[in-house]
Symmetry: C2
Subunit: 365 residues, 2 copies
Amino acid sequence: MGEKETIEKLEGLGRKMVGQVKEKKSPTFETPLRSRGNIEYDNAVGFLRLGDKREERRFLNVAQARTFMQTVAVANKTKKFLIEDLHTSIRGLYYQLKFSLGENLDESLFEEQTESNALIEDLEVAMGIKREDLHLTTDRKGVVAGNMIVKDNFAGEEITINCAKQGRSGWMIPSDVDNGMEFVDVKADYVLVVEKDALWQRLNEDKFWKKDNCILITPKGQASRGTRRLIRRLADKGIPVYVFTDCDAWGWYIYWTIKTGSMNLAYLGRDFSIPEARFLGVTMADIEKFGFLKKLTIKAKPIDIKRAEEMMSYPWISAHPEWVKELKKVVKEKRKIEQDALQGKKLTFVGEYIRKKINNKEWLP
Amino acid sequence: MGEKETIEKLEGLGRKMVGQVKEKKSPTFETPLRSRGNIEYDNAVGFLRLGDKREERRFLNVAQARTFMQTVAVANKTKKFLIEDLHTSIRGLYYQLKFSLGENLDESLFEEQTESNALIEDLEVAMGIKREDLHLTTDRKGVVAGNMIVKDNFAGEEITINCAKQGRSGWMIPSDVDNGMEFVDVKADYVLVVEKDALWQRLNEDKFWKKDNCILITPKGQASRGTRRLIRRLADKGIPVYVFTDCDAWGWYIYWTIKTGSMNLAYLGRDFSIPEARFLGVTMADIEKFGFLKKLTIKAKPIDIKRAEEMMSYPWISAHPEWVKELKKVVKEKRKIEQDALQGKKLTFVGEYIRKKINNKEWLP
């Protein structure tokens, strides 16, 4: 999505409304419904997405006028950011609106991240663009190492970053990995996504990404938008993606959000999901396979059991007998295992584990 | 602190205990008390630190035997990490202990971060070293841009990173900025620590660090150990440090923790505090100075009021009339202001604000 195209889309939105006013009609804003009833898992493509239901918001409607006006104000402000060629966060946008709309702008509407998000999501969905295209920066936290060159066209300069030369730190995944950013000379047999930064640091110290020719990524927990987009872009180059998390509620959630998206993020669709992703571990089955792990399991928390049961009710998970077997084991044994446990016998075992699992194709779908 | 020296300290600890056993005495472990009663603000040096009270733990003591044994086990394992030249996290250490000490190792002792920390803190304080020196990695999250070269001697390779050539991402501050790491060619008039990553991204896009010749750091909220060490090392080069946060409970806490340390971290002493740091803003006084901010204040939360009142009771804060005036204003007006608000009128105003405040020496101690 080029900036020019985004500006045109925003202007199109405005022109349509002006046309409606000229025809003495109420301006309208049409957007796909983001409520649960309109979220579906599309089996053919392998991710959660919005269905066909749409809603039309009308300016001349007491219940909708305020939000309608604010949506238009957001569109107007972000167009200004695009023209000025400057970026800010949602919070920066809030203060810009507060300043121009005055004291009357209800602070609580923007105070809660979920509420302020709603207005941005409206625009993203209605116009088929990403908030990053609107020059809105987002939280960032993932890190990368591997044989890959980043061409970062930023603030009037082209910066080249070699992700194989970032030492102990790694390259920090930015908010926007699309606009003005290219990934070239990507030499990797696969992408490895490691839930925890501590494990990433462990593998980075072993130069695992060099020895095993992979792109080593940690989302540092739940993946940020930037991290998900980066994985998507690497998968688009035909590189297999393996995800390596704890065997617990949070780990599974991280994996399935990367793979299929989540209910809350279903509106993002394919751009932010990687149906090709495979789950490498840690699995309950590993505990049998690697004997020393037996004494390193820990007690599952109620949330882990509850989550395992919930997951078995999702058709896109229950369709995989391997996953059902795993989850049933957690529910039955009430134990779980963390990825950190792989270091219990030998710190460098983590790399051996990953190599073995990939070579033996021991992953879950 | 060289690795050899750390190993010698660990061995000294062991030798002393072996000597005690040979003399048929109970092995002992002496450490400064970390409880509130032994924490003092040292006015001469400007940070919180432990007093002279010490405690002696004895192996042959029913209440202390278990922890004593675990402290020795931690010393033993970390010595092994040093000799193997490998790093891991506290969680990795836990699993190493769990594997070698067996099922009987109480998982809950290490499960809680605070509890597992306690054992490490014992060793840090007793031996006068940092956990990073014991090859334990810690959470990392800060980011840097500026005219500075990092020489990272890591995993058998020397990597050079130019913090002026990191594009939109910046250089991610690692867990350990001391062992095998040098900062050279630091060309900066000052260090600017910006609480929020969103503001850092804003200033980085403006190339503020280049235009204003500063080192631009965001701790992304509360500063990690690595970030505090980096700021300390830059301050040791004689570069002034300015901290720029929200005008609220959390912002002040971030500032004072950077400057003087905190109660919980008092055991770290000077290595992790920067008494030279100055508070640039945002301040309640700014609201008057910059007229457009008046409509951009928000309602203070009860925690902000409570925190302001608490802070006035700390002698190292109440000693500064400027701070008392600020805090009283918050308590009276029950309003606060975020650093993001500076973008309300114009996105690029943030830089102008910082320049103006520094040029006019408008900071708080």
